[in-house]
Structure formats: structure tokens, C-alpha cells
């Protein structure tokens, strides 16, 4: 475990985080945005596990957090899908640009 420097893994998780951000900002398809959000959440998961394993090997707090996040991600994905379905019913499209009624 200690062969791989922590910075490499953190590099991966950071990259995942920013890829997820990029996907959130640029994708027009709401499902794809949801996938990007999942990516962000997962990158945070990696961070938690890595810090747990490398800095506090005898504790399990980080892993508990990771499990929490997976649970919450699942619940949030369910709610998000429900919202997307409603939006589709009113706009006939899942393009996020079309749902811009809350403007000036």
C-alpha cells in the first residue's frame, strides 16, 4: 500500500473531480449532467478512502463516510431522475437550456 505515493491517487481523484465539474457545466443532457455529478461524488469517495488508508490506517471513519456518500448518491440520483421526468413531461425535452423560466 505504501508503495504508491499518496499524491498519485490524489491526482486521480482531483482529475475525476474536475472532469465531473466540466461535465456538469457543459453537458446539455440532464442525464449526462447526472452522470457527471456521480463522477464528482465518486472522486470525493476516493479522497476519503485514500486519506483514511494512508493517514489513519487504524481507523475506519473515512470508509464510513464513503459508504454514506454512496447511499446518498443513490437517493439523490433517484430524486434527480424524478425531477428530470417531470421536466420532460412539461418541456418534452431533457435539454437543460430549455428549462430557463426562472430568468428576469
Amino acid at each position: 500500500m505504501s508503495d504508491v505515493p499518496i499524491s498519485n491517487i490524489l491526482f486521480v481523484s482531483t482529475a475525476l473531480f474536475f472532469i465531473g465539474m466540466y461535465g456538469l457545466f457543459t453537458r446539455r443532457n440532464m442525464i449526462t449532467m447526472l452522470m457527471a455529478i456521480e463522477l464528482i461524488l465518486n472522486s470525493v469517495n476516493i479522497n476519503f478512502v485514500v486519506f483514511n488508508k494512508y493517514l489513519y490506517p487504524e481507523k475506519l471513519d473515512g470508509i464510513f463516510f464513503a459508504i454514506f456518500i454512496i447511499t446518498i448518491a443513490a437517493a439523490e440520483a433517484a430524486v434527480a431522475i424524478a425531477i428530470i421526468i417531470n421536466l420532460y413531461r412539461s418541456h418534452r425535452s431533457i435539454d437543460v437550456e430549455k428549462a430557463s423560466e426562472m430568468k428576469w
Binding site: M21, L24, F25, T26, V96, E97, A99, S100, E101, M102, K103, W104
Partner: protein, 649 residues
């Protein structure tokens, strides 16, 4: 009996007349408002005559000087401990004289109007306004405080405005009343500034105190005012000239005379009262009241003299060419007031030296009689002929015998033929001029010749010229009252008698520049010149106008451009119209309104517009796009992170 018990009634009775007739006249008085007004004024006149008797013959004189008495005075508006406007009554020779003149002439006009304005729908309003005017004028002449005289000055102006515009449905009358008020208002601006200067420099607004402080050679106020100068002219000259401008406006002196001919749009009795005998002499009265101050300031006295002389001469020239009889009389008034002005201008102070002062006041007195008589006669003529133009008249001597004789007497008086009133007063004026300022004497002399000419031109054109009067309308009203009712004839008779007798009053015993009476002599050899010139004028008028001929037109044609210039009143009206309409309206008024609407208001609207545009630009942030919001979110976090990590350690 002391003065304060009755003196206040003299102006207050007409004031009561104004209030009562103004509020209740139309409903309750109707046709009796005329008699009501006349009765009030009769009471005022009797009281004035009694006051004159009381003052001049009983207790006005102490030693050899007539005292300035102030029986009533109370503070009206106080500005500081020393400066306040007080309402007071001053009795001195000229104010008592003016009380008599104003109330008497006003009474004559009131009586005359009973017949002249009969049948007029707004009869009560007319008498209300006449009473208002009489009240204002009486208040003016007894004012003891310089601001008080200004207050009544303005009231007289507004009474004149209301009366000139009496026939308000005629645009000419409306325009004339406006013009009169605005021209005199402009002059009053000068008066106001003059009052401010005099008031502050002398520390008081009370006439006697003011004059005493500024004429006493040792007083600090005189030193201060004489040594301070603004733009190179001493403050005293400024103050007196500005005050004189106010007087010149009210007295229709050149170049502020343009309102007087137009004021003839008012009813003729009004012209007799206001624009002949009383209001227009207010300027002369003001200069006389402040005469001790004018006397010590040579510059302002020169202004008075030359303005007076110019007005006298110019007006006489214009009068020769006018065809509306009221306008001839208006210019004649301007000319005679010019005489009064320059008489004051050439006067010295004290005893015989003050002959000009006495002569001026004497001429004011006699002029009131014969000028109001002339106007009332003109009124009678106009009442009959229903026109103001000389060409519609002629040969009226058989139809209107009393008017004929009255007019003739008045013309002789104004021409200065002895033994009528005008001779004595004019002779004294010319003598005073001869003694102190010969060029003025010559101007006055020539003017009196021209005066005689145009007055007799008027007389002959109205009453002679044609064999009998024939007008296109026939002899309307010939069977009865062609000359007017009894109420129209009586004032003419009374005034005519006055014109004959008044000249014999030994005026200088009562009225002089320093209060001490003196005996003035008749200078027979000196008088021959003016009388001769007057007779020459009468003869020329006789030859041209006694019988109808075309000699006048040929003379006019031969004078060509000169005649035309005089006929068009020297184009002064046109110059004024140009200055006001083109210059003031277009260069000051219009730009002011334009700037206000477009620049000042435009700035406010501009601010609103800019706010609108900024709002349009900024509202784009609220685009409704979730992803933009997320981006702003992210940007904000980055900024905060940098802030906390690097800037705020």
C-alpha cells in the same frame, strides 16, 4: 380739534366704498352705487378742505415755517429695531394740497360718471374701482414712510390696471392695461432698489428722519452715502436716480411714457382722474417730497431736469400730429408733467431760490383743474359722437354750448393766456428756468408755443371747422341730453370756474421748498414773451383749422418725413416691442424654458434612462440557466479560496 380725529377718514371713506361696493354692489346697490360713491367722496372732499383750512390758516404755521405734522403713525412691519414700515399720516404743505386736489377732482369725476356710465352693466364695479383708486392715491400723498408710499404706489398702479381694462372684452383695452402695469412695474423696480439703498444708508425708512439724516452736512450717514461709490457714481446719485426712475415711470416721462397714450382705452372719466390729474403726477410728488435730497445731489437733479424737458418737448411735437382727441390730451399731459419735472429740476432751495419748486407745485394744482376739465369735456363729446377721432367731429359749438365754453377756457389756460390759471403757474416755471438754466427756458418757451398750437388745433377741429356737426348716424339724441345729463354738466361748470379763479391764489405764501412762505412777484416784461409765443401758436392753429380746408394736409405733406416720424410717435413703441419680443422673449425667455425642459429635466430623465440601461445590462445575470448559476457558484468559491489562503492570512 386735533387732526387725528378726522384725518384718517379722508382715505378710509373711499376704502369703505370699495369694500362695500365690491362685495355687495352688484346685488344690493346696482344703480345707486354711483350716488353712494359720490356721497362718500363728498364727505372726503369736505374733510380735505377742512384739513387744508385747518393746516394753512389755523395751526400749521409755527413762526414763519409750515410744520411737518405727523398726527397718526403705527408700526406695520418691523424689520429690525431701526428699520420698519410704519403707516402714518404726514401733513405738510404739499400733502395737504394734494389731499384737496385728489379728493376734489375725484369728486368731479364721480359726479360726471353718474351720467357718463349710466346704463353700464358693471356700474357698481366701476364705482368700486374708482373708490379703490381714490383711497390709494390719498394714501400715497399722506405717506410718512418711504415704503408706505411704495405700497400705495403699487395700489394706485393696480387700480389703474383695473380701470384701463374696464372694457375687458376689447383686446386693445386688455393690452393697454397690461402695458401700463408692466411699464410702471419696471420703473417700480428702480424705485424699490432706490428705497433699499436710501433706507439702509440712512438707517431709517421714515421720510422726515431720512431726509434729515441725509441732508445734515455733519451727519455720518451723509458722509457714508456720498463717499461710497459703485461703478464710479456716488451711492446717493444711484439711489436718487433709481427713485426718480420709479417716478418717471408713473409720470410717463420719456422714455417710460409709452403706456400713457394706450391707457386712453379706459373710460374717459377714468382718464380724467388718473391719467391727467392725479396718478401721473405721483412722480412729480415723489421728487418734491424728496426734494431736499435731490437738492444736494446735482447729478440727479440734472437727470430730472433733462428728462422733464425732453418729455415736454417731444410730447408736444407728437401731439401736433395725433387725430384721436384723447391721445392729443394724453400727450399734452405728458408735456405738462414734463414742465413740472423740469421746474423741480431747475429749482434751488429756500425762499426765492425755491421758485421752481413752488412753480412746479402750482402748475400741478392748476393743471389738475384744466386738464381734468379738458378730459371731461372730451368725454362729453365722445359720449355724443360715439367716436374718438377728430374727423368725426366739427361744428359742435351749437350742439354743446357749455362744453364749448368750458373747453375754450381750459385751452386758454393751458396755453398760458392771462388771466387764466395756467398763465400764472407756467410763467413762474419759465421764470425759474430763466434764472437757473437758460437752455431749459428756451425749450420751455418753444414748447409752450407748440402747446398753444396743438390745443387750439384740437379746439377748432372739434367745435368749429364745419358749419354744423353732421355724422353718418345723424343727430342721435339731439332732442334731449345731447350734451349729457346734468350730472355731466355740473362738474364742467365747476371746473371751469376753478380754472378761472385758481390762478389768483398766492401759492408761494403756502407752498415752498423749505416751508417758509415767500411773496412771488409778477414779472410783466418777462411774461410778454411766453404770451406772445402762445398767441402766435393760436393764430397758426386758427389759420389752419378754423375753417375746413386742405391746408393742414398740405403742410403735413410738405414736412414729409418729419411729420411721419412725429405721427408715429418717434417709433419708440416699435423699439420697445422689438426689444421685448425679439430680444427678451427670444434670447432670455425661450432659452430658459428650453434649457429647463431639455437640459435640466433632460438630465433627470437621462439619469432615469441610464438606470434603465444599466438594469437591462445587469439583468442578464439572471438567465435562468442552471449551469451558469453553477459556474458563478464555482467562481465565487475559487475567489474565496484564494482570498483566504493568500490575502487574509
Amino acid at each position: 380739534m386735533n387732526y387725528s380725529s378726522y384725518i384718517a377718514l379722508i382715505p378710509l371713506l373711499p376704502l369703505a366704498g370699495f369694500v362695500i361696493l365690491g362685495l355687495f354692489g352688484k346685488k344690493y346697490f346696482k344703480n345707486s352705487s354711483g350716488v353712494f360713491g359720490c356721497l362718500l367722496l363728498l364727505a372726503s372732499t369736505v374733510l380735505s378742505l377742512y384739513a387744508a383750512y385747518h393746516y394753512f390758516f389755523i395751526d400749521g404755521k409755527v413762526g414763519d415755517t409750515y410744520q411737518t405734522l405727523i398726527p397718526i403713525k403705527y408700526t406695520w412691519l418691523s424689520f429690525s429695531d431701526s428699520l420698519s414700515i410704519d403707516m402714518g399720516f404726514v401733513l405738510d404743505p404739499i400733502s395737504v394740497m394734494m389731499l384737496v386736489v385728489v379728493s376734489f377732482v375725484s369728486l368731479m369725476v364721480h359726479i360726471f360718471s353718474l351720467g357718463y356710465m349710466k346704463g353700464e352693466e358693471r356700474f357698481a364695479t366701476y364705482y368700486a374701482f374708482l373708490s379703490l383708486f381714490t383711497f390709494s392715491m390719498l394714501g400715497l400723498v399722506v405717506a410718512s414712510n418711504i415704503f408706505q408710499i411704495y405700497i400705495f404706489w403699487e395700489l394706485v398702479g393696480v387700480s389703474s390696471y383695473l380701470l384701463i381694462g374696464f372694457y375687458y372684452e376689447r383686446p386693445a383695452a386688455v393690452a393697454a392695461s397690461k402695458k401700463a402695469f408692466i411699464v410702471t412695474r419696471f420703473a417700480d423696480l428702480g424705485f424699490l432698489i432706490g428705497i433699499l439703498i436710501l433706507g439702509f444708508q440712512s438707517g431709517t425708512l421714515d421720510f422726515s428722519t431720512l431726509i434729515q439724516r441725509l441732508t445734515d452736512r455733519s451727519s455720518p450717514q451723509l458722509l457714508a452715502i456720498a463717499s461710497t461709490s459703485f461703478l464710479g457714481i456716488s451711492l446717493l446719485t444711484w439711489a436718487l436716480t433709481l427713485v426718480f426712475i420709479g417716478g418717471a415711470g408713473k409720470s410717463a416721462m420719456f422714455p417710460l411714457h409709452i403706456w400713457l397714450p394706450d391707457a386712453m382705452e379706459g373710460p374717459t372719466p377714468v382718464s380724467a382722474l388718473i391719467h391727467a390729474a392725479t396718478m401721473v403726477v405721483a412722480g412729480v410728488y415723489l421728487v418734491a417730497r424728496l426734494f431736499p435730497l435731490f437738492h444736494i445731489n446735482e447729478a440727479s437733479l440734472q437727470v430730472v431736469t433733462w428728462v422733464g424737458a425732453t418729455s415736454a418737448f417731444l410730447a408736444a411735437l407728437i401731439a401736433c400730429t395725433q387725430t384721436d382727441i384723447k391721445r392729443v390730451l394724453a400727450y399734452s399731459t405728458m408735456s405738462q408733467i414734463g414742465y413740472m419735472m423740469f421746474a423741480l429740476g431747475v429749482s434751488g432751495y429756500g425762499g426765492e431760490n425755491g421758485l421752481g419748486y413752488t412753480a412746479s407745485m402750482f402748475h400741478l394744482f392748476t393743471h389738475a383743474f384744466f386738464k381734468s376739465l379738458l378730459f371731461l369735456c372730451a368725454g362729453a363729446v365722445i359720449h355724443l359722437v360715439r367716436s374718438n377721432e377728430m374727423k368725426d367731429m366739427g361744428g359742435l359749438r351749437k350742439l354743446m354750448p357749455i362744453t364749448n365754453i368750458a373747453f375754450f377756457i381750459a385751452c386758454l389756460a393751458i396755453a398760458g393766456i392771462p388771466p387764466f390759471a395756467g398763465f400764472f403757474s407756467k410763467e413762474e416755471i419759465l421764470f425759474a428756468a430763466w434764472q437757473h438754466n437758460p437752455p431749459i427756458y428756451y425749450i420751455g418757451l418753444i414748447t409752450s408755443g407748440i402747446t398753444a398750437y396743438y390745443m387750439f388745433r384740437l379746439y377748432f377741429s372739434i367745435f368749429w371747422s364745419k358749419p354744423h356737426h353732421s355724422s353718418p348716424d345723424g343727430y342721435r339724441g339731439i332732442t334731449h341730453h345731447s350734451e349729457g345729463t346734468m350730472s355731466m354738466k355740473i362738474p364742467l361748470i365747476i371746473l371751469a370756474i376753478g380754472t378761472i379763479l385758481v390762478g389768483f391764489i398766492p401759492f408761494s405764501n403756502f407752498i415752498s421748498s423749505d416751508g417758509k412762505g415767500f411773496v412771488s412777484e409778477m414779472h410783466l416784461t418777462f411774461s410778454t414773451m411766453p404770451v406772445a409765443i402762445a398767441l402766435v401758436g393760436i393764430l397758426i392753429a386758427y389759420s389752419l383749422y378754423f375753417k375746413q380746408s386742405d391746408r393742414p394736409q398740405k403742410l403735413a405733406a410738405s414736412l414729409g418725413g418729419l411729420y411721419e416720424t412725429a405721427h408715429r410717435k418717434f417709433y419708440i413703441d416699435e423699439i420697445y416691442l422689438f426689444v421685448t419680443k425679439k430680444i427678451i422673449f427670444n434670447i432670455v425667455g425661450r432659452p430658459a424654458a428650453w434649457i429647463d425642459k431639455n437640459i435640466v429635466d433632460g438630465t433627470m430623465n437621462g439619469i432615469a434612462w441610464t438606470t434603465g440601461r444599466i438594469s437591462v445590462l445587469v439583468k442578464g445575470v439572471q438567465s435562468g440557466k442552471v449551469q451558469s448559476y453553477a459556474l458563478y457558484f464555482f467562481g465565487g468559491i475559487v475567489v474565496l479560496v484564494i482570498l483566504f489562503l493568500y490575502v487574509l492570512k
